[in-house]
């Protein structure tokens, strides 16, 4: 009996695999589709961002194909789940590279990017990091390029703004104790101090705790003029709420994780004066973005989580389309090696949501940083730092 049951399981698994493969094979278009991969967290704690970003990329693919694709070839995106876990990311990229044989893929979340870098380099497939911001990404090898500015762009901009524009002397830094928090906090401290300021408190808080009193009291006693919080969208509101409740009235700055209307909504009046940075212009500054946001509201009934990130993800298929187009025109085979070469050769891209993108030889991109301040419950632009 158990033999039969066990066979059933094996048969089920095999059937599922076959179904998947035939489904993929039967998706034929008139001209051969141009494939690329996308590995995003679709489940897990980061899925609130990952799923929205994947959706933005899908919309871009639909829009591109509606306009005729790339020289008549439809663009095809193969989407896999990483849960922002390096091991699953490696699995996903392995699949994309050896089963789906894509010459280029996109992914995000610094730990995943770092984990899949060796695969991209070994198999000579172009890996695009879209949204991860660890500065180490620039040094992960020949085949890893970021299309999103790394942390040392927007965090530094915040530090400079605090020092040079707001003339703050004493900064306190609060950060979540994970890789993005640790790295971001370090960058802020270095930037602030290199500009002559003094970091009077530098406290970490645990990812799992909801009571930050101890760290916040240390910040309070250190008497800063400005407090920079390097947290995630899930803990940021709590940290700010407790800061205000403990009587700290100093201005609070954070990076793009704070650029989320949910944060303002949950904090109510306590959000006033919050300074956030974003690496993409807002809907008020760019009409296309307003359209994008409207589209979200119509189809999903809300605005996307992490709007700037979704903008970059929307632009990614356009960038890939440009690369494909370049190779098709030159008549070159569509391999990873040539994809990378195309990226280097083309270098400058005009993308619908985020504007001009220049891919540097140092594997970095430079973008202006848009600073916003919460006034009357809304994000008002205050400065743009180049």
């Amino acid at each position: 009996m158990k033999q039969i049951r066990r066979n059933m399981v094996v048969a089920l698994a095999l059937a599922a695999t076959c179904m998947g493969w035939t489904a993929a094979a039967s998706a034929q278009a008139a001209k051969e589709p141009l494939k690329f991969g996308l590995a995003m967290p679709l489940t897990g704690s980061q899925a609130l961002f990952g799923a929205d970003q994947a959706k933005a990329a899908q919309w871009a693919v639909q829009d591109i194909n509606a306009k005729g694709g790339v020289d008549g070839h439809p663009l095809e995106m193969i989407l896999l789940d990483t849960q922002a876990d390096p091991r699953l990311g490696i699995n996903a990229v392995n699949r994309l590279v050896s089963v789906d044989k894509v010459p280029v893929f996109g992914t995000a979340w610094s730990a995943v990017v770092k984990a899949v870098a060796p695969i991209a380099n070994r198999s000579q497939v172009l890996g695009l990091s879209v949204g991860a911001n660890s500065p180490e990404i620039a040094k992960l090898g020949d085949y890893i390029y970021t299309t999103y500015p790394l942390a040392d762009v927007d965090v530094v901009a915040q530090a400079r703004h605090a020092r040079e524009t707001l003339k703050k002397e004493r900064a306190a830094v609060l950060y979540i104790h994970n890789d993005s928090g640790v790295e971001g906090a370090k960058i802020y401290r270095e930037a602030f101090e290199s500009l002559g300021g003094k970091v009077v408190a530098y406290e970490a808080y645990d990812a799992q705790s909801t009571d930050y009193t101890g760290a916040l009291l240390k910040v309070r006693t250190s008497n800063p003029d400005i407090i920079h919080v390097q947290g995630l969208v899930s803990d940021l509101p709590q940290v700010i709420a407790q800061l205000r409740q403990l009587g700290l009235k100093q201005p609070i700055s954070t990076y793009s994780a704070g650029y989320n209307p949910k944060v303002v909504q949950q904090l109510g009046a306590a959000a006033e004066g919050l300074l956030v940075s974003a690496l993409a212009p807002s809907a008020e500054q760019n009409a296309e973005i307003a359209e994008f946001v409207e589209r979200w509201k119509k189809t999903e009934g809300r605005i996307p989580n992490g709007l700037p990130y979704t903008q970059y993800l929307y632009d990614m298929p356009y960038l890939i389309a440009d690369l494909y187009s370049h190779l098709l025109k030159a008549g070159k085979p569509l391999t990873g090696v040539n994809m990378r070469q195309a990226l280097v050769d083309v270098g400058t891209f005009e993308l619908p949501m985020t504007g001009k993108l220049v891919v540097g030889a140092d594997h970095r991109v430079k973008k202006p940083v848009y600073l916003f301040e919460v006034k009357n419950g809304k994000f008002e632009p205050v400065a743009t730092v180049d």
């Binding site: 599922a16 679709l42 789940d81 490696i90 994970n178 928090g181």
Partner: protein, 291 residues
């Protein structure tokens, strides 16, 4: 195909992990969930030795084995002397505490992880790793089988089934427990070393309690207390999620739906075969007729 080879590497690694965990928990009756920390210690040892000192893979992995084994003494000696029941508690503290320490130490990369582990196989990389992983897995399973069927194995079972009688016969349970724990943990360390060389990047988050749960599920679903049970469990619980991703589900619910399908299947297995997919040939489950 590279993809198949990478799956085989994972299968090999997890067979080693599940089997060694089964040795500790299924045969030895030592309820500890700290297995992933020994996996981590082996991986980080290899990571540090290869990045800082450029040591050759074989001595590095051997060092991983030794480090994991020595660490197991740090856990087993104090805990087992008190009582076997409290091993569970101390193992939680041990695993999470060591991971916190790793997260705070810069020379192992801290929370950002340890990357840049050199690639030690240039040609046919995945195939070589798959062969080594599977080879080691086979070796481990066969050695465990020999151990269990031999006189030492009978001693272990006797100790687990009725420790009082065992002690009354003058056997030293403590030494056997510590030895089992050390061997099981050392093997996890070896798997860790291999893991480090294959993936070339480690983060502390990969070795958390979730990993303990996954390995434990493999052992339980496969059949605790049988030699081949963990093998079946490892293969099944690794291939099943992969197979599900080939189902081409609508992408708006793809992620969670895959999880729903996978967990439903595991629950189904637990209902169909609560003793595990591979029955233990003798009465090896601890405690017999509990509720």
């Amino acid at each position: 195909m590279e993809y198949v080879a990478s799956l085989l590497v994972l299968i090999g690694l997890y067979v080693i992990l599940a089997s060694s965990f089964n040795l500790i928990i299924g045969f030895g009756g030592l309820i500890s969930i700290a297995h992933p920390i020994f996996f981590a210690l082996g991986a980080y040892t290899v990571g540090v030795l290869s990045t800082q000192f450029g040591l050759h893979p074989v001595p590095s992995i051997a060092a991983g084995f030794v480090v994991a084994m020595l660490a197991s003494f740090m856990l087993s000696l104090p805990s087992l002397r008190i009582s076997g029941d409290y091993l569970l508690i101390t193992s939680i503290g041990f695993q999470l505490g060591l991971l916190e320490i790793i997260k705070n130490l810069d020379f192992v990369g801290g929370a950002s992880g340890l990357g840049g582990i050199p690639n030690v196989v240039q040609q046919h990389r995945s195939l070589v790793f798959a062969a080594v992983a599977l080879g080691l897995a086979v070796a481990v399973v066969l050695s465990l089988r020999a151990l269990v069927r031999g006189p030492y194995g009978r001693a272990i079972q006797a100790m687990r089934d009725d420790e009082l009688a065992f002690l009354a016969l003058g056997r030293n349970a403590m030494n056997i427990k510590i030895a089992i724990f050390a061997v099981g943990s050392g093997l996890a360390g070896v798997a860790g070393g291999l893991y480090a060389y294959y993936y070339q990047y480690l983060t502390p988050d990969q070795f958390q309690i979730l990993q303990s749960a996954m390995i434990l599920t493999m052992v339980v679903v496969g059949g605790m207390g049988s030699v081949y049970g963990p093998v079946v469990g490892a293969v099944l619980l690794l291939l099943l999620p992969e197979a599900i991703t080939f189902l081409n589900l609508p992408s708006s619910v793809m992620g969670p739906l895959q999880g729903v399908i996978f967990t439903s299947l595991v629950i189904l297995f637990l209902f169909l075969r609560p003793q595990g997919l591979v029955p233990s040939s003798k009465r090896l489950s601890a405690g017999g007729s509990h509720e």
